[in-house]
Amino acid sequence: MAHAVPIPPGALEPPGAGKRTLAQAFGWAVFVLILAWAWKGADVRPMDLVKDSGNMAQFLTEFFPPDFREWRSYLREMVVTVHIAVWGTVLAIVCAVPFGLLSSSNIVPWWVYQPVRRLMDAARAINEMVFAMLFVVAVGLGPFAGVLALWIHTTGTLAKLFSEAVEAIDPRPVEGVRATGASALEEVFYGVIPQVMPLWISYSLYRFESNVRSASVVGMVGAGGIGVILYEVIRGFEYAQTCAVMLIIITFVSTIDIVSSRIRKQFI
């Protein structure tokens, strides 16, 4: 076949090869310009790290040894933090299933998925902390405000991840279900959900991990959990206690990350 045809020497260089390097150089120049601009805007002062290194070392020593005298209350609030994350995540999963399906272009027409997607964008665009501040006003101080904040934000995130999984499914099994005379809802339950289940579980666990992290700060604006204590000890210049609280958060978050990623691996 074609292997007998000799290749002319000039043919080895694809046409337009030179243009690409020019475009790349331009891309890099833009990138460097953005970095320089952002340097000014973000007020980056690396020299201060050297100049004030003595102060910082002094500051650091105040953290040690950590003061665990109040550990019972730290632990209690840390458990509340996990409770906030659990409910915030579970409520979000329950909502993200329908919203995720309703923002999938292969399940519903554009006039459904476009508005639903925009709604989810909005839920995702606002940080948990902002929602927490608003819900503290609405439902009062305490963990429930944190649950509501995580719920809204996580629904937005999970709905997007869920719908991306749905849009990547193999359409043939769905058509197989359709061929039996099944209703549209049955098509989704039997043809779509079995295909996306492993990914959905994996995404949900990942969001739970990250919600434990988020839940540990929503307390700073009064939405319950370990964040409340963290805020108080930092404001009171109790750095030894701050250190103890941070160590507890690190231990909890790391443990949950490790356990959850183990479980996630089972599903992929």
Binding site: P173, E175, G176, R178, A179, T180, F189, P194, Q195
Partner: protein, 285 residues
């Protein structure tokens, strides 16, 4: 015969935007209990025709009606409003099986019950003993009952196709449309699947319309063959009459591959000389 037809296609046309019509005024009547082969090269419109019958695709505006057991599936380019309900009577067997791989064989077969059971039960996946027994009998009749609790994705192609047939049986479909059911299978699995289709046609009286790549299978399993070329019915008659000479007349000179079955018709169609020949034939027709 017209009155009691299992399937009646009247003047169906379809174009997908290109200059060449995918289906051109197709007329076809199948009597109850018949087993009819649909042959033709790739792109001749076999799949498109079957997908229209099941209402997956609508014909061109103003094109004729498709009736299955007197029920209008689509008419004038509009799919019937109750198409989901009507599909229960039409079993569909796909070339790529189209099973849900992560579910068990049992669940895949039970899906044939979905149109008959209340929605709340189907959504929580609750099937009665009787429904499971019916699925079991269907699996037994195609010889896959020992695989009932395996995931469908772990099965071989031939086994998966038998699951798909069992699903159509549980559906209690009066007619089964099989779209190249053996094109992805090895010769032995292909034979088994064709034997099963022929047996359910013979023993249960289910009407079967099966599209095939190779004429030898049509001659062996079906009394009647309908041949398509470039979206048109070019032959409708006894399979026995489909001799090499006749096929050569229908499909051009290099039709031998379609006959001996060692090479698929794709190879013929991809041959530029043959493609040109068919184009000329279509222009003069």
């Amino acid at each position: 015969m017209t009155q009691g037809a299992a399937l009646k296609v009247e003047g169906l046309s379809k174009s997908f935007g290109g200059p060449q019509k995918a289906l051109k005024d197709v007329r076809l009547t199948v009597a109850p209990g018949e087993m009819v082969a649909l042959i033709g090269a790739s792109g001749s419109g076999k799949s498109t025709l079957l997908r229209h019958i099941s209402g997956f695709v609508a014909g061109d505006p103003g094109s004729g009606a498709i009736r299955v057991n007197q029920h209008v599936m689509q008419e004038g380019g509009r799919v019937a409003g109750s198409i989901r309900h009507l599909r229960a009577d039409v079993g569909f067997v796909f070339q790529q099986f189209n099973l849900v791989g992560r579910l068990t064989v049992m669940t895949n077969v039970l899906m044939g019950q979905l149109p008959r059971i209340p929605l709340w039960r189907s959504l929580i996946g609750r099937f009665t003993r009787e429904e499971k027994a019916e699925a079991w009998r269907a699996m037994k009749s195609v010889g896959i009952e020992n695989l009932a609790w395996q995931r469908a994705s772990t099965l071989s192609g031939g086994q998966q196709q038998r699951v798909a047939i069992a699903r159509a049986l549980v559906q209690r479909a009066g007619i089964i449309l099989a779209d190249e059911p053996i094109a992805s299978l090895d010769p032995e699995s292909a034979r088994v699947v064709m034997e099963i289709l022929a047996r359910i046609n013979r023993e249960q009286g289910i009407t079967v319309l099966v599209s095939l790549h190779q004429v030898q299978f049509a001659r062996r399993y079906c009394v009647r063959t309908v041949a398509l070329r470039l979206g048109e019915v070019v032959y409708d008659g006894p399979s026995a009459a489909l001799e090499a000479g006749m096929l050569r007349q229908l499909y051009g000179a290099s039709v031998e591959e379609m006959l001996d079955g060692t090479e698929t018709i794709d190879a013929v169609m991809n041959d530029p000389v043959v493609a040109e020949g068919l184009g000329v034939a279509a222009a003069t027709a």
